[in-house]
Symmetry: D2
Subunit: 347 residues, 4 copies
C-alpha cells in the first residue's frame, strides 16, 4: 500500500493473519488423500464441533458467495423463496448466485432496519405467502446476516425470535456470517448461543475478511441439510482436491481464539472511529456500529475531498460512505482518518 | 504419509512445491484491492501473455472442475452439446458440473482411443448433428484433455486437425489441461504451439496436480469468449476477494519454468515405472505412457496383493489399476513399487 | 356454472369464443408437417405482421407464464435482472418461472402506482445498478404489464417514455400482454402504436383470458431476440407437434377484430360495474378501471357476506376483493353483483 | 395434404380423432375454476385411476418432451443421471430438455438392441456407477420408451426385469409412452400390467401422436413423486388456466377404448406395410415392427426416388428410412407406398 493512502475500503483488502499463513505452510507435509478425506479436514470437523458444542459438519469453500448460495440451495427446492433484508449481500452483491445454485430459487427482500429482518415484516410476509399454491414461490429459508450489511449485530434474542417464526412455517434458518467473529466478539456470547441454540440451521462462516486468505466454510448444524452438500459442492466445482490446505486455514482461525482476537481488533478500531465521528457534527452514522463497518453520511464535497486526500473507501451513495476496519487497522490510521474528516468538515 | 505405504493414488495427493508456498507467503504484504483488481493479478495476466506469446486473459479459479465447466458454459448456449472422449473427466468425474454451469448443456462422448477424440468420429457426429434444428442439442464446443485421461498426449498436429474440424462448424475448442505441463514437457513444444497456434480457444490450466495447492486457472485466447467470464465466475461464487493469494501461486508456477521442471520429474518417474512394467509379463499397459499416469492391467489377485502390501492406488476395474507419479515421487518409490509388482506376478 | 353463483373470479374461468373453437375444428383437415412448419402457422406469422404493421415472428405457446418467462430469458443473460412493478405477475404469481427459464435471472420489483413501473424509480434504479460490475445482477429487461395487474392501462406515451429509458441502457422492453386486447380496446390506438412504435421489443400476447382456450403467443418485434426462441421453446417442452391447432386459435382471435370485440365486451361490463361501485360509499376502487379487472376495498364482513351469497371472486387481502369481467359476462350478472354489494353495504 | 403425396413422416402429422375434437367442443360450457381444479380434470383423475386399476395422479401437459423432462426432473436430484437407450427420444431429440428441467440432470445412454435398454448393460453400469461418490452423477432414474424409438415393444416381463434392477438401486422407473397405446394394443395386456404392475413409477402418456391434438399427460403411480409436480409444472409454464379443455381431450382418448381402437388401426397399417416390405429383397427392416413405426434400409438411389415421387418420410441416415403409420393411414396408402418401393427396387 502506498504510504500516502489510508485503507478503509474493505476487510478483504487486508492481509492474512500470520498464524493462518503458518498453518498453511505446516500443512505441506507428505501426501494426503484428496477431496476432504484427509486428516486435517477430519480434525477441522472435530474442532469446530467442540467450538460450537454440537456435532456438526464443516465444508471449506472458496468464497462467501459460494457458501451463501450453496447453503441456501441446500435448504430447499427450486420453487422456493428466501427471505432476507433489502441490504443483504445475497440480494445486492452476489450476481444471481442464489438463483443459479438454487435452480431459479428466488431472493425476496423484506423490510427491516439497520440491515436486519424485521419480525413483524417476516410474519406478515409468511401469512400471505401462499404455502402450497403452485403459482407462489414457496418460502424455504430465512437469511440473517450477522453482523448485518449496515454494521449492526442481531442479539441472540432477535435471532431466536426470527428463527422461531421461520421454523413455525418449516423454513430453514441460514446465517450469513461473513463477519461472524465480529458479531460474536461484540455479543460476548458463545458460538453455540449465536447459532444453533438460537435456531440457526446452517452457517456461512466467514474467514477471509477477518484474517483468512482463500477459504471460508459452510457449517451445518441440521443434519437433514448436510446430506447433499457434497454433491452441491462437487457439481459447483467447489471441492479442492488438496483440501488439507483449506482446512488448515480454518483450523488455525478458530484455534486459540484467534478469530475472536482478530475480530476484537477490528471492532475496537471501528469503535474508536465511531466515537470520533460522533464528535463531528458534519458526519452522521446511519446505523449502530457494533462490528467493524461504519456507514457515514457526509456532504458530497467532504467525501470528494477525502477521496482526493488518499483515503480509500467505497461510496454507497453520493453522500454515504462506508469505512471498514481490518484486524490490522492501526489506532494511528484511525486517528489520521478522523483528522481528515474533521478538517474537511470545517472547510 | 506412513512410511509403510507407497503413494500412487493421484497427483493431487502430493505436496505443494516450496516455490509456490513461498510466493503465497510473500504475497501477504500490505493491503490490496479485492476481486482481482490487484497488482499480482495484473502481473499474472502480463506474465502468462508472455509465456503464451499472445495477449490473453487469465482467471484464477479454485478447481479444475470449476475451470472446465465454466469454460464450456462460456463457449456456448444452454441448448448446446460438448463433444469429448468417453473417458473425459467432464464426462466421468465432475458430477453434472457442465450441465449445471451450462444451464443443461449436454456432454456428448464420441469414440476415440487412448482417451483422445477421434477426428473421424468427430466429423461423423458433426455431419448428423442437426445444426439449426430445434430438437437437436447444438454442438458448441470440443473438449480435448491434454494429457488424456488414459495418460497419452495429443500431438500438436492432432490438436490442429481436431480444432480445424471444430472451427469449420463454429465450435469452440476447449483444452482441459489438468496435466497441461506434463503434456508440454512430453512434447517439448512451446505453450503457444500446444494451444492457440493449434486452434485452442480456451484452456483449463491445471496447477494443483503439478505442485500447486489451491488454485487452477482459466486461460482465454479468444477474446469473444472472455467477455462474460467475470460474471460466470461471480455468479458461481468463484472469485476470491483476496485474489492476490491465488495469482501469486500461478505466477510462481510458471516463473523460471517451474511448471516444466516439476512435470519433467513426474513424467520421468512414470517412464521409469513404465519401463519396469514392460519387463513384467503379468502386467500390461493399456495406453501409451506419455505423461505421469499409468493404466495397468493385472490379475485381481495381484492387485489385491499390492493393496494389502500398502501400495496406495485406485482401481478402474477389477483388473485395471491406475498409478500416478507426482513431481516428488522418488526413484526409490518407483523401484519399490516395481519390486512389489514383480514379486506379485510370480506368486 | 351453478345458476345460484355469480362468476367474477377470473377471465380464465370463462368459456372460449365460438369463433375460436370453430377455427380449431376447421384446422383438423388432412396431414400437416409438425412443430410449426405448417401452413396455418405460416399464415399466422403473415397475418400478425399485417395486424402489427411490421414483419414480426409469432411463437404460439401454451401459457402466459411460459410466454413471459421464455421471452425474458431470450432478452438476456443469466447474470441479468428484470425490472418490473411489485404487482407484476412475473413477481407474484409465476413460481420462479423467470429464474428457471433464465438460469437464475433475477426479478427486481421497483416502485410505481396502479401496477405501473414509475419512470423516476426506473431511472433511479438504473443509475445505481452497477453496469459492468460482476457482483451486480446486470439489468437486461424491463417488464411492462398491459393492462396492469391492478386493472390500469399504460398510455402509449408512458410506454414510450419507459422504453426510452430502458433502451438508453440497452435493456430490452417486454410487454406482458395477458390482457393486451383489453388495453388496446381502452386506448383505441393501433397494435403497432401500443408496441414496437412505443419501443416494445417482445410481447406476451394473451389469448386465453379473452376467449381463447389453450394457446397464447410470443410476438417478437426485435429480430435479434427472435433467433434462439425456437431452441428455448423446444428445450422447454413448449413446441406442440400439431402446432396447426394452436395457430388456428390465434388466427381466429385476431381475424375480423374478434379480439377487440371480445375485449370491448369485458371492458364494458367492468365499466358498468365500476360506475355502480362508485355510487356505493362502502366500497372503494383502489385503482382506475381501464380494462376488465376491478380491485375493491370493502369491509371484511361485507366480503364474507358476498362470498356466502354465491359470488365467486378472489380476495387479495382481508378487505380487498378482485372482480374480473369476462367477454361473456352479462349486464344482468353485473346488476346482480351490484345489488348484492349495495345490500351488503347497508347491513 | 396434396393428393399427389403419401404421408408417412410422423404420426404427429396426422389429424385428430373426431371423438377428441367433439369432447373439446363439449367442454366449452359455462365457467370453471382454472389451473386444474375443475370438474373435468377431477373426472380425468378418476377415470384414469379406473383404467389403470390404481389410485394415480394425472397431469395434462402440452407436449411429450415436457412430460418426459419434467417427469425425470421429478424423479431425482440435479446431481443425478438417467439411464436410457442410445436411441431414446430424450437423448436424441429433445434439445437438452432433461438437463434444463433437471438442473443439469445427465442423460446416460447405455447399450441395447431394437431401441431397448439391455438388462445386462444396465446392471453393469449400475455396478460401476459410484453411488455416494460426489464426483459421480448419481443414477436416479431409468427411462424406458414404449414402444421403442425403433418400433419395437418391451414385453411386460422385460419391463419387470429392468424395473427390478432399477428399484434394487433405488432408481425410479419412467416410461416414455409417446406411443403407449400402440404398445398396449400390440401386447394385448392391461394398462396396469404394462405399467405399475411391472414396476413403472411414472409415465409420459402420449395422446397427440395417436389422434390427440394439444395435450399429452404425466401419469404418476408412485405418490412420493407426485408431490412436487404441480410446482414443476407451474414453474415450467405448463399449467393451462383453462385446463378443462386439455382434460376433455384425454378423457375422450381413453373412454370407450378409443385409444386402443386408434392404435390398432395404425399398428395394422404398419403390419401391412411390414409384410409387404418383407417380400421386397431390396428393402430390409432393421427392427421388429411391433407398433406403428418402420425403419427400413434401402439404397440411397431408391430412397431418393421415393422422395421425388412424393412420398413424405424422414431419413435417419443416407440408407435408412423411417415410415410411420397414423390411425388414419389407409390400406390404399400403404399399397401405393409398397408399389413405389417395389418399383424402385427393380429400377
Amino acid at each position: 500500500m502506498n504510504h500516502q493512502t489510508l485503507e478503509f475500503r474493505s476487510d478483504n483488502c487486508g492481509s492474512a493473519a500470520p498464524e493462518i499463513i503458518e498453518a498453511l505452510v505446516r500443512a505441506n507435509q507428505g501426501s494426503a488423500v484428496g477431496y476432504g478425506a484427509d486428516a486435517l479436514t477430519s480434525d477441522l470437523n472435530a474442532t469446530l464441533s467442540d467450538v460450537f458444542e454440537s456435532k456438526l459438519r464443516v465444508f471449506p469453500i472458496p468464497t462467501g458467495t459460494g457458501a451463501n448460495a450453496l447453503a441456501l440451495a441446500a435448504c430447499g427446492t427450486p420453487f422456493g423463496a428466501v427471505y432476507c433484508s433489502p441490504e443483504a449481500h445475497i440480494n445486492t452483491s452476489e450476481c444471481n448466485a442464489v438463483g443459479f445454485f438454487g435452480g431459479g430459487l428466488k431472493v425476496s427482500p423484506i423490510d427491516g432496519i439497520d440491515g436486519k429482518v424485521c419480525p413483524v415484516s417476516l410474519e406478515k410476509n409468511l401469512t400471505v405467502a401462499g404455502f402450497g399454491q403452485a403459482h407462489k414461490s414457496q418460502p424455504v429459508a430465512l437469511n440473517l446476516v450477522q453482523a448485518t450489511d449496515l454494521g449492526a449485530v442481531y442479539s441472540t434474542e432477535e435471532i431466536s425470535q426470527l428463527s422461531a417464526l421461520a421454523h413455525a412455517r418449516k423454513l430453514s434458518v441460514h446465517m450469513d456470517g461473513a463477519r461472524f467473529a465480529n458479531a460474536l466478539a461484540h455479543l460476548g456470547c458463545s458460538p453455540a448461543e449465536m447459532t444453533w441454540k438460537a435456531g440457526v440451521d446452517i452457517l456461512s462462516l466467514g474467514v477471509t475478511k477477518n484474517g483468512g486468505l482463500l477459504s471460508d466454510a459452510i457449517v451445518v448444524f441440521n443434519p437433514d441439510i448436510a446430506d447433499k452438500i457434497d454433491f452441491h459442492l462437487r457439481r459447483g466445482g467447489m471441492i479442492w482436491s488438496k483440501m488439507r490446505f483449506a482446512s488448515a486455514q480454518i483450523l488455525a482461525y478458530v484455534e486459540n481464539d484467534l478469530w475472536l482476537r482478530l475480530a476484537r481488533q477490528s471492532n475496537a478500531a471501528a469503535q474508536q472511529l465511531a466515537q470520533g465521528i460522533n464528535r463531528i457534527p458534519a458526519a452522521r452514522l446511519i446505523a449502530p456500529v457494533q462490528a467493524n463497518e461504519l456507514f457515514v453520511e457526509m456532504s458530497v464535497t467532504a467525501l470528494d475531498r477525502l477521496a482526493n486526500q488518499g483515503v480509500l473507501f467505497y461510496r454507497r451513495g453520493p453522500e454515504l460512505a462506508r469505512f471498514v476496519c481490518r484486524w490490522d487497522t492501526t489506532q494511528e490510521e484511525v486517528k489520521q482518518l478522523l483528522a481528515l474528516i474533521e478538517t474537511g468538515s470545517h472547510a
